[in-house]
Amino acid sequence: MRRYIARQIVQLVVVIFGISILSFGILHVIGDPVLLLLPQNAGKEEFERYRHLLGLDRPLYMQYWSFASRAVQGDFGQSWYGNAPAFRLVIERMPPTIYLTLAGLLVALLIALPLGTIAALKRHSFVDTLCTMVAVAGQALPIFWLGIMLIIVFAVQLRLLPASGYGTWQHFLMPSFCLGAALAPITMRLVRSGLIEVMSMDYIKTARAKGMLEWRVVVKHAFRNACIPVITVLGLQFGQLLGGAIITETVFAWPGVATLTVDSIRNQDFPVVQCAVVLLALLIVAVNLLVDILVGFIDPRVRAGV
């Protein structure tokens, strides 16, 4: 297990190095940020002076080296727009995004676990079809549309929830539902197929033969094995969830890191984009590492197999 984790961490470093090079390179190919930074009436000398000030007139590898050597110390430079350190801007906005994705995950599980279980136990029945239909509908709705509809119904018409913003638990309901609804279907299908597979195993028959109550069979014996693929896939889906967070954050004016990243890309604010991309990559890789460890924890075969 220890060697397994060590290997994961080495991979993590390689992945982050790769991502930092990519984010650095791509941004520099896109266009000239000085054009955006200066007012429309700025003269040629001013452009040149800014290019020099920002170090954009140096060779690319030197720019990367100075970026990378400072980045490992948490110094991603000053935001070109925000008049503040890029690292601080990104870190400040990390928690709202993490809370939102966790809440979205919780919603997805709250929808997927019961529906998936019912569908598996009542396989090929009307209930099964209904559950699948609900799930597919959830996946088919674009987050953007769902978000606006929720706002119109619950904020504008019913006046039950705040239309947007951040701060109280009420603010969490609509955005996390939006995000969760998109993730629920795939989770539900995994729970369903996982349970169906497990339920036909010999040890389930044994449990039943011992005269155990059916719900105990499902919850205590079947679930633990059925949830392994679910956890793995949820870990992989975490990146997707962050992607969904960009739209959700925009619709609900959520002050998260996803919108910050998109804004910074639009403004060509290199330091913030680089910092956000690297930290988000770090987060995704860390989550996946955590998932791997968690699976090993639940399933002794994985631990032993390493």
Binding site: P39, Q40, A163, P255, T259
Partner: protein, 512 residues
């Protein structure tokens, strides 16, 4: 063994508790809420390029002079009067008894420090270009300052409305970085808390020298998505929003909870034609072809039917609100026969091929739809228009600057918020300027004379001449002055500002 599900649940609960926001002492009755689509980069207005920073700046700071929204004239503010001592010296008398938010009194020392800071090339302040004509500022006494200018500077007073007065003490003791997050002004509101990209909370400055704001608290929320912003307005979460799309006006007006208000704004839209041949030879170097284009289009019906009336026809690029506008010059009227004849006279009896570079509706609402109408009108007289869409405004601006956007393209000009004909003539019509695709020695002479005279009457005459010239020569395809649309909650009284600077300190509860 610990159940993972239980761990997740516990973590969620702890997070949920940690998140419960501190209760604020505001009530709905003493708070006005305004929203912006994107946040400011800084609370130091001269260091920012954003209009949002100008708007927020008006709340925490004051300017020496300010525009009256009703008369649209510039009047005294922190300055009580100004006069010319000679052609290149302005003397400004300051208001007494004004205090900064930190309690220090406002004096001529602050005026000098403000301009010295902005004009210092090493500080690379964005606002420097606005004041490049100012050479130096001298302190005469505590409440008198003298400005030396580089040649006569007719826009001096107009530009005073574009510079907030900042504290000399803050500059000396705290520095630029600190000032970017801590506005120390003399304005009607004080900043309490700025949560980046989320919200600004301001509280009324009870020591304010002028009329105090009605609302004790001003919240400025950042809501990137327009549909959400409108939903907030309708559900009572926000009181004032700007830049409402024309097709959403009905939704707001029929909601019962809010209404729209429109105002002409200082921005003129046109199709620039490459008369100067910056992109190489093209049909528009011939005046007859440019006139034919102007005569081909029925702008009045486009404004009425496509823009829901949200436009004011102009004869040239000069906006009706700008100093020097000639009310007697009437715009081109559609005349298809005359346009066809002009095109034939120019050597195109069978029509002519034109490339049209189009832009996104970043600053001009419904630009795609109005382009459709313009192109179909032009087709009627023989312009075969090939449309080329550029989706990114930044790319568009860069291409325009490089001179590569001819022979015909979408353009509009916001005058840098200076209500003067010079603010468009120089940048958009003068030979050799980055945004100009027109070159005419006669016009250049008029522009030069106009900006070097302090005599308002003489300047008016010059600009009347310039407009006649631009009209006769059909420099570009002239369209209309834009109108802004605001959404206002029915619980507040608020006037849409012509200079696009929202002043929430003027808002009051709506009389029942």
């Amino acid at each position: 063994m610990v159940r993972p599900a239980a761990v997740v649940l516990a973590v969620m609960l702890v997070l949920g508790l940690a998140l419960s926001a501190p209760a604020l002492a505001q009530t709905k009755e003493d708070t006005i809420v305004y929203s912006l689509q994107s946040d400011v980069d800084s609370w130091d207005p001269p260091a920012s390029v954003l209009r949002e920073a100008i708007i927020l700046g008006y709340h925490a700071f004051d300017h020496l002079a300010t525009r009256d929204l009703k008369t649209r004239k510039v009047g005294p503010n922190l300055a009580t009067s100004w006069r010319n001592i000679d052609d290149t010296t302005w003397e400004v008398k300051l208001r007494q008894g004004v205090k900064f938010h930190d309690g220090t009194p406002f004096t001529a020392k602050d005026v000098k420090a403000t301009f010295d800071r902005v004009l210092d090339p090493a500080k690379k302040m964005t606002a420097r270009g606005n004041h490049a004509k100012i050479k130096s500022v001298e302190v005469v006494d505590d409440f008198t300052a003298r400005f030396k200018t580089d040649g006569p500077y007719p826009l001096f007073v107009e530009r005073l409305t574009a510079q907030v007065m900042q504290s000399e003490k803050a500059m000396r003791e705290k520095g630029d970085q600190w000032m970017g997050e801590n506005p120390v002004g003399t304005g009607p509101y004080k900043l309490v808390k700025w949560s980046r990209k989320q919200e600004h909370l301001l509280v009324r400055n009870d020591d304010y020298w002028g009329a105090k704001p009605y609302y004790k608290y001003l919240r400025v929320r950042i809501i990137p998505e327009k549909a959400t912003e409108i939903a907030e307005l309708l559900s009572g979460g926000v009181d004032v929003i700007k830049a409402v799309p024309p097709d959403q006006m009905d939704v707001i007006d029929k909601s019962g909870g809010a209404r729209t208000a429109t105002s002409p704004i200082l921005r003129t839209a046109m199709l620039q034609l490459d008369q100067a041949a910056r992109g190489g030879p093209n049909p528009f170097t011939d005046r007859k072809v440019r006139q034919a284009a102007n005569l081909a289009v029925d702008h009045d019906s486009i404004i009425k039917h496509v823009l829901n009336g949200l436009g004011d026809r102009v004869a040239t690029g000069i906006n009706p609100m700008a100093f020097g506008w000639d009310p007697n010059l009437k715009p081109y009227k559609q005349d298809l026969a005359a346009a066809k004849k002009l095109l034939a006279d120019a050597g195109y009896p069978n029509g002519v091929d034109i490339v049209f570079n189009e832009g996104p509706p970043t600053v001009e609402p419904a630009v795609q739809q109005t382009n459709d109408a313009i192109v179909s009108d032009m087709a009627k007289v023989g312009f075969r228009v090939k449309r080329n869409y550029i989706g990114d405004n930044t790319v568009l601006v860069a291409r325009v600057k490089e001179g590569k956007f001819g022979p015909m393209f979408n353009w509009s000009w916001g005058y840098y918020s200076v209500f003067d004909a010079d603010a468009i003539l120089y940048d958009v019509f003068k030979c050799g300027e980055s945004y100009s695709y027109y070159c005419n020695k006669e016009l250049d002479d008029l522009i030069a004379t106009g900006r070097n005279s302090l005599d308002a009457k003489k300047r008016t005459e010059i600009y009347v001449k310039a407009q006649k010239l631009l009209y006769d020569d059909a420099a570009y395809l002239y369209k209309w002055g834009l109108r802004g649309v605001w959404g206002i909650s029915n619980r507040v009284e608020y006037t849409a500002p012509a200079d696009e600077v929202d002043r929430l300190f003027l808002a009051t509860p709506r009389k029942k």
